[in-house]
Amino acid sequence: MISLTNEPLEIQRVIASVDAPGAGGIDVFIGTTRDVSRARSVLWLEYEAYEPMASTMMERLAQVAHERWAVLNISIAHRLGRVNVGEASVVIAVSSAHREEAFAACRFLIDELKKVVPIWKREFFADGTVEWSRQVHEQQGITTEGV
């Protein structure tokens, strides 16, 4: 199950969606929004996506994970729009017969999602400023500082 949604993520539902009779373990990664970014207080965030491409890329990452590891089911849910501090921005769940595969695939999925899925975060600071997240372009080692 791949989803992009403006609603709060239902963690329990994402986890239940990977359940399988042969599953021995489920690894779940939950990305939560932090109250501090670069030593400044954050009030909330907003995520925007190039939606069809983001969905396609997430589907493809899931396919790659299925090819590399003996996993049973994969779900990825990413939230868009305003997300308050402390709320989940992404939930990834992977079930497998043996736990090693679930851990490895889940780690791969969040690492790759952060590199290739076209979603952008804007931070709304307590001091009134608004900035697009100064993320490192991991492939190129270029930061977006100074914009």
């Binding site: 190039y50 491409m53 990413h78 979603i119 975060k121 190129q140 914009v147």
Partner: protein
């Protein structure tokens, strides 16, 4: 020929628009749209090394050949997750 340009995040802010049809030479490469954007706002020069291009929702190198009607997206460094 015409292609549709789509901009996101900081690129959208710098260009001042989100989506626009632009005219490129027949046989133009994807990188040509970056030249157009740099013409609109010279700040794109500093960004050239960190913007990626997607044509019809697939990442492509700057040298990718464009076809009429392509959707060309400017992908600034992503920050999802």
């Amino acid at each position: 020929m015409k292609v549709t340009l789509r901009l996101f995040s900081i690129a959208k802010e710098m260009a001042g628009f989100e989506e626009r049809e632009v005219e490129v030479a027949s046989g133009a490469q994807a990188g040509a749209v970056l030249d157009i954007l740099t013409g609109l706002n010279p700040r794109f020069t500093d960004w050239r090394g960190s913007l990626r291009l997607a044509v019809n929702q697939e990442y492509v190198p700057e040298g990718h050949l464009l076809r009429p009607g392509d959707e060309v997206a400017i992908i600034p460094p992503v920050s999802g997750g």
